[in-house]
Subunit: 527 residues, 2 copies
């Protein structure tokens, strides 16, 4: 059976090609003034000796539990930069003691009972793609730790083709979810960079957002109900297209990041596969002018499926531009009617702000054109870390949302402070880029990427220092700590400043009622 890497994105057989490695070498060597990188090798299982399991599952649970080296090593981390650094540095000092693969809700109840009785921390693993340190066991405070892997909850259970909705199990990966919907002509279209490996339940727990740049961006807007197993029992909301009956029970679970329970299934809206598309790549001389154009498009209610501004530097880094122009990737799609009219109107908004579409109309050219190049770059990007971390290249992203009125100052200061932080900390070159991942009538969700050359021995500290300065400036200027990456451990310092204190107190009281022994994903959201 195909196994996932223990040190980075994807499966063990998914590695960078020799050509990709050469390209990256040719790009980053000159940039950082390094003649010849001396990459550390990726860790292998035989190099790793894990702490002996501190707890042993009772016989009744042994058939769904594993203490195998691979299982425990793989479930030690998600896919954050910190995870990559720690894995490459052979730091597997805090693995889960046990990895459990429940087959039924009863299995989950039994695992929770055991963890509650024995003071074992229970960490839901999702697809293990957290980039915010959200799936690792707590360091202390518990007699042991269990990583719960929902891999066996992997089915689209029921489809309602009339309402365009499906009942789906929490452990299914995005790729499998789409494969099971496809024979019905349906798609969830909830594509984010991690979607192949991340899970439906994980998306709900972390308030993910994906493909659609406007309107129904977050999974919050898609689920019709949620079924959650908590240590005190099941919470299942009624399946409804809309409701105004009291505070939404689903909204307590959405974003709970495993701190209340395990999402076993939910009904979600799905879509007919689009048959009409119209898209364009539009260039702007200035990032803020591009922002004004998408503000107009959004406030006009044109609702493009894709409406992503990429700044001049990121466009260049992706090989899709020369560094002088920002690019807007714009597209409309429909399973019902041609969408050219929408594109025409949106392009008028762009023209009003000096945007000019790249004159490549046909699909072939588009894939090979600027948008296509950016797309390919985007898809392969998670694998680049396998190149960068062993060469001590620090590469990290953070994302937020802010209202339009504050955008220019916010963007300028966040870029300046982050770039200064990378330079100060690494003593070398640095860049910070920005794109918009999602657009609302009242503001965008900017996504920042930064790079710098670190030092192998202090990469974690260097990262922490840069991350702190970036997080501080975002928080100070009123951006949200996260638009769709979740809070995890990484964002807690700023999340704790952002969420109202009394809300945290109220949530803590609610959690204590559902998880009286405090076993559910300790460190998440509260506590």
């Amino acid at each position: 059976m195909r196994r996932r890497k223990i040190y980075g994105w994807g499966y063990e057989d998914e590695i960078l090609t020799a050509e990709e490695n050469q390209e990256l070498e040719a790009k980053w060597g000159p940039y950082f003034g390094v003649d010849q990188f001396e990459p550390r090798p990726a860790p292998t299982l035989d190099e790793i000796e894990l702490r002996k399991p501190r707890v042993t599952p009772p016989g009744s649970l042994s058939s769904i539990c594993s203490t195998e080296l691979y299982d425990r090593a793989f479930h030690s981390y998600g896919t954050s930069l910190r995870d990559s650094i720690r894995a490459f540095q052979r730091d597997f000092t805090n693995p889960p003691d046990v990895v459990a693969y429940p087959n039924t809700e009863n299995d989950i109840h039994a695992l929770m009972d055991w963890c509650g009785d024995e003071s074992i921390a229970l960490t839901p693993f999702g697809g293990g793609t957290s980039v915010v340190d959200g799936v690792e066991p707590p360091k202390d405070g518990y007699k042991g730790s269990l990583s719960l892997d929902m891999a066996n909850f992997n089915k689209v259970v029921e489809i309602d083709e009339t309402s365009l909705a499906a009942r789906i199990q929490g452990g299914i990966k995005g790729l499998d979810l789409e494969a099971q919907l496809k024979p019905h002509g349906l798609t969830m279209r909830h594509y984010m960079q991690s979607y192949a490996l991340s899970t439906f339940g994980g998306w709900i727990a972390t308030r993910s957002s994906g493909h659609f740049a406007t309107v129904y961006t977050h999974i919050d807007d898609m689920v019709e109900n949620i079924r959650t197993v908590t240590p005190e029992g099941v919470i299942e909301s009624r399946r409804l297209p809309g409701s105004g009956a009291g505070p939404s029970p689903d909204r307590m679970i959405l974003g709970s990041e495993g701190s209340l329970g395990i999402i076993t299934e939910a009904w979600t809206r799905v879509h007919r596969r689009p048959t009409h598309r119209a898209s364009a790549s539009v260039l702007f001389d200035d990032f803020y002018t591009a922002a004004e154009a998408v503000r107009t498009i959004s406030q006009a209610g044109l609702h493009p499926a894709n409406c992503r501004v990429v700044d001049e530097t990121e466009t260049q880094v992706a090989g899709a531009g020369d560094g002088t122009q920002s690019m807007l990737a714009l597209s409309f799609e429909s399973a019902h009617h041609p969408v050219d009219h929408w594109l025409t109107l949106a392009l008028e908004c762009c023209a009003d702000h000096g945007g000019h579409p790249i004159p490549e109309a046909d699909e072939t050219a588009r894939r090979g054109g600027a948008a296509g190049k950016y797309r390919n770059y985007f898809i392969r990007l998670p694998f680049h870390r396998d190149f960068m971390t062993p060469r001590a290249i620090l590469g990290e992203t953070f994302e937020t949302a802010i209202t339009w009125d504050r955008l220019p100052e916010f963007h300028a200061k966040v870029v300046a402070e982050t770039e200064a932080a990378v330079r100060d900390v690494t003593g070398g070159k640095a860049y910070v880029t920005c794109r918009f991942t999602h657009i609302y009538p009242d503001g965008p969700a900017p996504y920042f990427t930064w790079r710098g050359l670190g030092r192998w021995d202090s990469m974690l500290d260097q990262h922490a220092e840069i991350r702190k300065r970036a997080g501080d400036i975002v928080n100070e200027l009123g951006g949200t700590v996260t638009h769709h990456h979740a809070v995890g451990r990484l964002h807690r310092p700023w999340y704790d400043q952002q969420r109202p204190d009394l809300f945290a107190d109220a949530y803590t009281a609610a959690k204590q009622r559902l998880d009286p022994n405090g076993i559910m994903n300790p460190g998440m959201i509260v506590g």
Copy 2:
């Protein structure tokens, strides 16, 4: 100063015209076989003697508190059918002891402290338009009761024309809110039947929905943040266009119906006033075929502003049809671009399902046509109760939401059971009508209206029995207890069956943290 009625909708000077009374007489007399109604007169203040106030505000609060007869009588009720019956029957046996009009958040804190210390129930009054018995004091369990009226929190405080958003105080009425936005060319367009009198804070507390039939229907989707004064302090979320940072603090307040605190202000999205409109009224021979047409429109992502199907009976009752055809009121609007293309596509969906537009194109004709007639009926409807209740005509509505796959059976059974209930209980004629108020890709929000001739002495019991059978069938068939009328006291029996038990437990724990003395709107949501 203009005063609101103590027995029904609107101000004291807003009464039915002689012509309206004659029309209603001519309509309902023959329908119920009544030659001459003998209406009871509306109650007047001098007929009412209220229980002496059981508590007296401390001197420091006396300037913002009233124990005047009118204030206490008016704040005894909302505008539900039960409220109307009780008022006409001169039943003012449980008025609030004190009505408070705070000017500042400090006033609210001080009022909460007093209520907490003295075991006084604090009921937020909003605009007093609750149709679910959500603004009356509890009958027992407290030493006294206070109705909190936010009338002085009546301003649009700040406008952000770039992001199209405004910071607005909780006590402002819809009509005033629009008047204050208008000079800026802006509008919230959150029109529901009550909007002239209901308040912005009340909308948030009850998860109201309004003008827009699709996409951003509920106020949940409009607010950028919320500021709430609870007995334990202020909860203020960060103003953001979108976020994925933990469970949404706003979603704990949205729908809390005063059980956690008082909403003093919030940022909300607003709109530029539309300059382009395209609309049509479309007739269908069959309600379910009309439903199929709007399902197609919704799933096509055409996002009409108005998309309301009215069944054949309701169309007739409104004087807009002959009782053989259902009507779809369809409209698109934009401040940015002509919307004829959208209407054309939507009318194609209608034509595919046998819908034919009424051939009246110009605005004048439209206002006088079927849609215009329905609109006028809709606007005047709240006043009709002044005619009906004193004649013992029971007239009530209830609303819900259900997925498309279940709609036909659901609709048929709810109509049949409700009609049977009205007949059984009243022993006379009855009708039940249905319209859709809001449309989602996965289902509509059906709104039912029923009428029957009750008996003066037992109207409350008759209403309760009919309401029980209607509520039971909606609940049994999986509809939500309310799409936008809120839970209040009226819907609690079914709400308690709908919301997950453990969610209620978790919410109770959260409430205890924020409202340790349990003074906030007792009887709402939990407890």
